[in-house]
């Protein structure tokens, strides 16, 4: 049984609006309180906010399982929000089987095939943004750049045909909200759930996927017997759930960081080969996925603290990425840092299977900007889109000064 008195209890609600808007004071307090903390509002839950413990939990997948859900809900105790993901919410041996298929489709080598297309789209979009900034005096970093870019290139690569890509935004927002509590954010997102889910599942069907695209390649793996044809649509669903909202916010967040650190953008403009490390530092500094959970599959311990079976373990990824125990000058945005070991894309066997694609998108967009834009200026106050899991901007007024 968990020795409750040994674990500091804090009164923060990570899902309260003020903590979604500015989580950093909460992160600091949680890190300072101890390697493992409890949260007053949540039973049968412990939280880790330091890098060492987050890394350790994510890398012990046998003890800290994903099959009981990677959000707040414990699937051992309540029904999942939607049918379980065959990869995200799965443990070995099922996970091993499904992961192998998706990892091959999105491997670093496979991603070299899409590089030229992704780069050309980035250059074209940056040109359009420059024109708009000159004509209108400003652009919106989210609506004109960070959002349309992944919405164009990634569904194209998956092979999603036809109209309705905005459904990907609604669905992603919904799924990432569903990893938090059943609060107003989720309720509002769930209002549109029916028709959006129908669109998503229709586009997981082979007939609606372009032959040769990433989605169709999942069906080819089923043809080869690596997975079943019954499993294939749910794996396509994984791409459609996790492949757009994440990169939109990864790009938006790094644009925000660069705009607010002009001396860093100047370094990038002077040396566009820093684009990929700059995107990486952006992921560390303003992590898109703020949190993920695991469930203790047995009585165990974290940093010597006893944790009972069926306890939810909240891994504060964004906090781990600013932990001064791990990062010198952790609160400094430094595009030359090379932050290998950050957990913005997870760690261990469940590390983001799309990370090669995500990094490609970040690299080519920041490269296109670095070459064509001398300076990025903040043109007005930004607004946030609150989500239980994602750090997301709604608007980001910017002025682009051409090179």
């Amino acid at each position: 049984m968990t020795q409750v008195l040994d674990i500091p209890e804090l009164d923060f609600d990570p899902y309260a609006a003020e903590n979604l808007i500015d989580p950093y004071p909460m992160h600091l307090a949680m890190r300072e309180a101890g390697p493992v903390v409890r949260l007053k509002s949540y039973d049968r839950l412990v939280a880790c906010a330091r890098h060492a413990e987050v890394h350790a939990v994510l890398n012990d997948h046998a003890t800290f399982i994903s099959g009981a859900g990677v959000g707040l809900a414990n699937f051992n105790l309540e029904t999942p929000f939607r049918p379980k993901s065959l990869i995200l919410e799965a443990d070995p041996p099922l996970h091993t089987q499904t992961r192998a298929v998706l990892a091959r489709i999105l491997s670093p080598k496979a991603v070299t095939q899409i590089r030229a297309t992704f780069a050309a789209e980035a250059e074209a979009l940056v040109e359009r943004c420059l024109e708009k900034s000159l004509a209108a005096g400003q652009i919106d970093g989210v609506h004109d750049l960070a959002q349309p870019y992944p919405l164009k290139v990634f569904p194209d690569a998956v092979g999603v045909e036809g109209e309705g890509r905005e459904n990907l935004l609604i669905y992603g927002d919904l799924i990432f909200n569903s990893m938090g509590p059943r609060n107003a954010l989720l309720a509002r997102a769930a209002e549109r759930m029916g028709p959006v889910t129908d669109w998503i599942m229709a586009h997981c069907q082979r007939a609606n996927l372009r032959p040769g695209g990433f989605g169709d390649q999942i069906y080819q793996a089923a043809d080869a017997g690596e997975i079943s044809h019954e499993q294939a649509p749910l794996l396509v669903r994984s791409f459609l759930s996790a492949g757009v909202d994440t990169t939109i916010n990864g790009l938006g967040n790094v644009l925000f960081s660069l705009a607010h650190h002009p001396e860093q953008y100047a370094r990038l403009h002077a040396d566009p080969s820093l684009a990929r490390p700059a995107f990486e530092e952006g992921l560390r500094y303003e992590s898109t996925a703020q949190t993920f959970f695991r469930t203790a599959g047995r009585d165990c311990q974290i940093a010597g603290v006893p944790v009972a079976e069926n306890t939810k373990v909240l891994c504060m990824l964004a906090s781990a990425n600013r932990d001064p125990r791990r990062w010198p000058d952790a609160d400094r945005f430094d595009i030359e840092r090379r932050p290998s070991g950050h957990v913005a894309l997870g760690s261990g066997i469940h590390g983001c299977v799309g990370q090669a694609v995500a990094r490609l998108e970040g690299e080519v967009v920041l490269t296109a900007l670095a070459r064509r834009v001398k300076r990025i200026e903040v043109a007005g106050p930004h607004t946030r889109r609150l989500n239980n899991t994602l750090r997301a901007l709604d608007t980001l007024p910017l002025r682009l000064i051409p090179a």
């Binding site: 192998a100 990892a103 091959r104 491997s107 670093p108 080598k109 990929r276 990486e280 090379r338 290998s340 070991g341 950050h342 957990v343 894309l345 997870g346 760690s347 261990g348 066997i349 590390g351 299977v353 990370q355 090669a356 990094r359």
Partner: protein, 107 residues
Amino acid sequence: MPDITFILPDGTEQGLEAPEGVSVMQVAGGAGIRGIVAECGGSAMCATCHVYVDPAWAARLPAPLPTELEMLECTASERLPNSRLSCQIKLTAELHGLVVRLPERQQ
């Protein structure tokens, strides 16, 4: 004798002491060796911690798991029989004196 020696692309050698249980990738990172990039932080997902293990040592390492073999198909520099992902090589007492050569590039 250093615990591990890295031969850099320009031919210079860097010998380092290291505790047991850390990976070759972690040793490189801790010493600031730029020739190992390790974008994924050691999860065998990016193929940017590629090393060529000195032939005298290659057979003494535990064999690569399927995930590592898949990733070795993705290295930027040529894959050779002694290619390994350095994040998957854990230093043990038996590997004291290990020598690895860094490839020309990781990306």
